[in-house]
């Protein structure tokens, strides 16, 4: 799903710049950027992106994992974590938070695209299933 609108939540300015260019070259639109979880929650409400690409370790009243739970619960949006953490514990917490995928730092264009496309597809399927079950009920 190219042209998907993506919200970047990352506190490293250089990484944000590289991500913006990489996403643009892959055919996505960067809806907005945020550097804290509080900014991210506001930006989701304001810009209504198709997907949130978010770091786990972030400044703000809550960390990335807690913010992902809120985004999933309140806005039904897919979240892909961008992280340097690759340990089992962090990954388990990310999955429990409802993450649709993760990209390990440093990211590659191919890895980024694969994670985003998989997350969008999973989200689309989940939404369709939910609609179908609502109609059946």
């Amino acid at each position: 799903m190219t042209n998907a609108r993506i919200l970047i939540v990352e506190d490293e300015a250089i990484t944000v710049s590289a991500l913006k260019r990489e996403l643009a070259s892959l055919g996505y639109e960067v809806a907005a950027t945020a550097s804290t979880t509080d900014e991210a929650l506001n930006a989701v409400e304001l810009h209504k992106p198709d997907l949130v690409l978010m770091d786990i370790t972030l400044a703000g009243t809550v960390n990335g994992i807690v913010a992902a739970v809120a985004i999933r619960g309140n806005f039904q949006l897919p979240v892909v974590f961008l992280t340097a953490h690759a340990d089992d514990g962090t990954m388990e917490r990310a999955v429990a938070a409802g993450a649709f995928g993760y990209v390990l730092k440093p990211f590659s264009g191919a890895g980024l695209k694969a994670a985003i496309e998989t997350a969008l597809h999973k989200h689309q399927t989940e939404m369709e299933n939910r609609r179908r079950s609502n109609r059946a009920a």
Partner: protein, 368 residues
């Protein structure tokens, strides 16, 4: 009196083969018991020690003159290790008292009426000293464990920082490459990013395995080969990748160098081996032993006639030769008799051989 002649069959009615499985069963039982003791509360451990003292005291009484004073150390150790020093002292005193209670039954003739009390006091003192020393050992062990945990957490944080910094460097290279107009110049920056990516993956492997000193290079080699083939397969070429890798444990320094060597060899094969070809096969092998061998083989166009790696090497091959010398290895780059190019790196085992559980023989995977 009738006696029975004992034959071999009588003597060995139930032959016991106390082999590896018996040891393993015993070790497993001890392990389970220790796990149980770790789970119970301090009060429960003390109660268990008191019960053990009672059992030993009964045996002591029944067996008479046979000394069981050493066996009282078992509840003393148990109480000290799992319930603390005070509990250990208490069980020590209780053990001495139990010994004293059983003593009159033995009808010993003492030179002085206070002598059994003196002996019991001496026993209590010995048990108390043992409990004290053991509690100190336990405290030291706990402190050491805490320090190891702190150090592990710090190392994990360092690896996390390293990966974040590598991400920043990679991002900077990407941003700088944007200013360039020539595709060849951009490709140089992309190659640098691949090298950084390779190093970052090693840190990730160390970080996620929890082993901060050495790692299994086979897993890294496979991941890197798959990643490079995915991103660098020439357009219009269907490429089969075959990775055959034995588990080979190497330290981080060697792994970084070997990773960069593999990165160069794979990129060379992908850039030059299959140009203008509709299909090809890339084989990556890693064999362990006294002398490890890593091979990258393609069935492409092969080396130019009269090619001499020491004289005609570009930057990539120059780096390969230099880094191979760095790990005290030997590089052999030649035309493969079956066609294509074969680059073999022989390097010594720097670590004692290890058993790595992962099975890394792979079937060929295809990319286009």
């Amino acid at each position: 009196m009738k006696t029975k002649q004992l034959g071999n069959s009588d003597l060995f009615i139930t032959p016991v083969h106390f082999g590896a499985s018996a040891w393993e069963q015993s070790a497993a039982a001890i392990h389970r018991a220790l796990e149980f003791l770790d789970r119970i509360s301090q009060t429960a451990a003390t109660v268990l020690a008191i019960m053990l003292v009672a059992v030993i005291a009964c045996f002591d009484y029944v067996t008479g003159d046979f000394s069981l004073t050493l066996f009282y150390l078992v509840p003393v150790v148990l109480a000290t290790w799992y319930a603390g020093r005070i509990s250990g002292w208490f069980i020590g005193a209780l053990s001495a008292a139990a010994w004293l209670l059983g003593d009159p039954a033995l009808s010993h003739a003492y030179g002085h009426p206070l002598m059994p009390y003196w002996n019991a006091a001496m026993l209590a003192l010995v048990y108390g000293v043992v409990a004290h020393l053991l509690s100190m050992l336990h405290r030291l062990q706990t402190e050491l464990q805490e320090r190891v945990e702190q150090r592990t957490a710090s190392l994990a944080e360092v690896h996390h920082r390293v990966k974040n910094n590598l991400q920043i460097i990679s991002s900077l290279l990407m941003l700088q490459a944007e200013k360039l107009s020539r595709a060849a110049d951009k490709a140089v920056f992309d190659e640098c990013r691949d090298r950084i990516y390779s190093m970052a993956r090693l840190h990730e492997q160390l970080y996620s395995s929890g082993e901060f000193s050495d790692l299994d290079f086979a897993a890294h080699l496979r991941e890197m080969a798959e990643m490079l083939v995915r991103s660098h397969t020439p357009q219009g070429c269907v490429l089969a990748l075959d990775v055959r890798a034995d588990p080979v444990a190497v330290d981080l320094d060697t792994a970084v160098t070997l990773g960069l060597i593999a990165n160069e060899l794979l990129l060379n094969a992908l850039k030059h081996g299959f140009a203008g070809r509709p299909a090809g096969k890339l084989t990556v092998e890693l064999y362990g032993g006294n002398r490890n061998e890593m091979t990258v083989r393609d069935d492409g166009c092969g080396l130019p006639p009269g090619f001499d790696a020491t004289k005609d090497a570009g930057l990539g091959l120059e780096l390969v030769l230099g880094m191979t010398r760095q790990i005290r290895g030997e590089a052999k780059i030649e035309n493969d008799p079956a066609g294509g190019t074969r680059a073999a790196i022989f390097f010594p085992s720097l670590l004692p051989s290890k058993t790595v559980k992962t099975e890394l023989q792979s079937k060929p995977t295809y990319h286009d």
